[in-house]
Amino acid sequence: MSRDQITNILVCGIGGQGVMTATEILAEAAIAEGHDVKKTEVAGMAQRGGVVTSHLRFGRKVLSPQIEPGTVNVLLGFEGAEALRWSHYLRPDGLALVNNAKLVPPVVELGLFDYPEDPAGQMRAAGRRVVSFDAMSIARELGEVRLGNTVMLGAIADYLPFAPDVLLACIVKRFARKGETVVAANRRAFAAGREAVARQLGATVGTPA
């Protein structure tokens, strides 16, 4: 990805999952790298358990703030069905990194609609490049479910047009005032997220794509 091009990152999930904060940290990393940045989401009713998407565009000069269907470089999905819902935003060569959490809304529990059986599989069947992993289990193994968002950021770290350390530095900066223990836990979560994706893609952590 050259500097003249615009990188489009779409982060999706459900109100309350931390989608907007994760995108904010990604934006900070892009700024640290000297990019022009635009980040947008539709808020308002979204925090009531509704769909949340956060659009991040960066490059030399960003004009339109919205990402359009078929133009996403990396889709970071915080929830399986939500990743499926937004998968048509991916470029043909785009990559979807999906936390396979399953958050079932009341309309499904009421029997009005069905939850897809295998969202990631459905995306693969449609020809998408998908890596799915269980960010919450990884976080739980590290001893704290709240590390899930850092696992997600670790997952995308090797698929950005800058070094993973730039993103890690922004995470560390955010948690610095919470003390060394919290920072160390986030470093481990970040590394675990990178590892989870690399393992599936057969890549080695440390060589950014």
């Binding site: 635009k38 980040k39 989401e41 539709v42 808020a43 009713m45 004009l63 499926l84 809304p105 529990e109």
Partner: protein
Amino acid sequence: MAAVMQQLATPPAASRLLLSGNEAVARAVWESGVRVAAAYPGTPATEIIESLARYPDLHAEWSVNEKVSMEVALGASMTGARAFCAMKHVGLNVASDCLMTMTITGAYGGLVIAVADDVGMSSSQNEQDSRFWGRFAHIPVLEPADSQEAYEMTKYAFALSEQYETPVLLRLTTRICHVKGLVNAGEREAHEPAGFIKNPQRWVMVPAHAKTRIPGLFQRDETLRGVAETSPLNILEAGTDRRVGFVASGPAYMHVKEAFPDAPVLKLGFSYPWPPEKLRALAAMCDKLLVVEETEQLLETEVKAAGIACHGKDVLPRMGELSPQVLSPAVDRLLGRTPPPEAAPATPMKVFPRPPTLCASCPHMGIYYTLSQIKNLIVTGDIGCYTLGAGHPWNALDTTICMGATMGVALGIDKGRGAVDKHKRILAVIGDSTFMHMGMQGLLDITYNKGNITVLLLDNNTTGMTGGQATPASGKDIHGKEAPRVDLAKVVEALGVANEHIKTVDPYELPVLFKTIREEIKFEGPSVIIARRPCVLIDEFKPFRPYLVEEDKCTGCGNCIEVGCPAIHVTRREKAIKPSGREVELAFVTIDNQACTGCGLCVQPCAPDAIQHVPRRDIPIHIVKT
């Protein structure tokens, strides 16, 4: 959010900041030396005043409604202070009574109104185009296209306002308000008010005075047209591909530049009055002229009326947001080209809808679960989270129009109904913040005109839908500091509701709630039931000990699902034949104890007592109170 707002931190020093359009406007308002800034919360404009509340040296307030916020700003301007108010598009409807006369008095201290249009309707009951107010009220309209411009134009707006003694409309849209971009910020400049000067010819708007000032409005329009003609905010970019030239403002400009980087564009930042000569210059340099504007066919109509041939809504949509992918095929049509097949938008996968829901433990759930159990009700509703009562599983709300409309609509249904509706009971639902915004007058109309209405006043101690802003009934001001707390029961009584028909209930106690509603709807006359419980998203809400489902006891009846709580999940479904021979579907459930905050609403309809508190040792760490 409330906790954040309590801090009056030192604002970041002048530097390059990542700010949303709302934050950029707030920063510029503060830097412009504004003394008074007022608003009623409304998406997508809420965060302007929310951010301003964190800046020192100015009075920021949540006003009870947009009209009052504008009047407060006008009063401040009369003293020579710089003043500001912000609102969403529908808020300006409420404030328009003030606006239409304030334009005649004009501003003294710089007076700027930020209005945010919810283009695409992410959180509004309509999609209206606030640019019309510039024409209607004869005031200039500025339209930024990103955060940096929002910042710069806000500062310019105060200078413009003072130079021409006019209120200035800063027109934003969702994609300005809620887009973060980099902003080069500065520092606050002092702006000491010159002082209030008695001048009845200017400030007392009786016919004799207003008549002498109205010609000034038309004069001001002409002067400002000249200003727009030379304004650096209106840029004519010559381009190289002259087949189609574009006129655009706000986010539409960004979409045009992205889709057609080589085309001539007239970017209108000072969009009303618009500059006719610049437009003619653009028209002369291209084969076809396309006016790109979101929602209404406004500028296009005016351009055509000025004798300049152009296209617009003949190829572009009349509602919703524009984007490069919307513009490209439209221009293809204009040029008589067939769009290439790869330009077709990708097809979305079929996934269930995920509408917004009420939160776990939301007090409104108890209300709508109860209303869904009562027959022969007409329920009028209002604007707030409780509008979600119209959705599944409750389907318990029949109307929603605008702020406070529940009262008047209910009274109208009562007075207008014929024999076919006589047996029905009419119930008006309204939230505490909406009640104080515009509902009190409606209730007065109900009591004065002897309406047979039961009002359900949902007091959750905050303005919930916009993220938990303080109200006069929450006992806190915009900074979270203690403020006089209005007693809603006393207000209701003062408005003429008989004391014995004002009931206060706990929306978590379903039997009492049910009984109280049943009693009051039978009463022939106005009654008010105040349902009081804090919104789960504010500090006042303290979670309770969560519940679980004892699997062996659950009979799959599904009663708890009808409460509508997002923490209840179905584990398996089975078909069963009832003794009557009817086939039913059973749904066995579990409760997500990370999400459950123990309101106990689902416990009450559970016949087999399968829902029990989680054992104390398993209480998640986020629960502080048991």
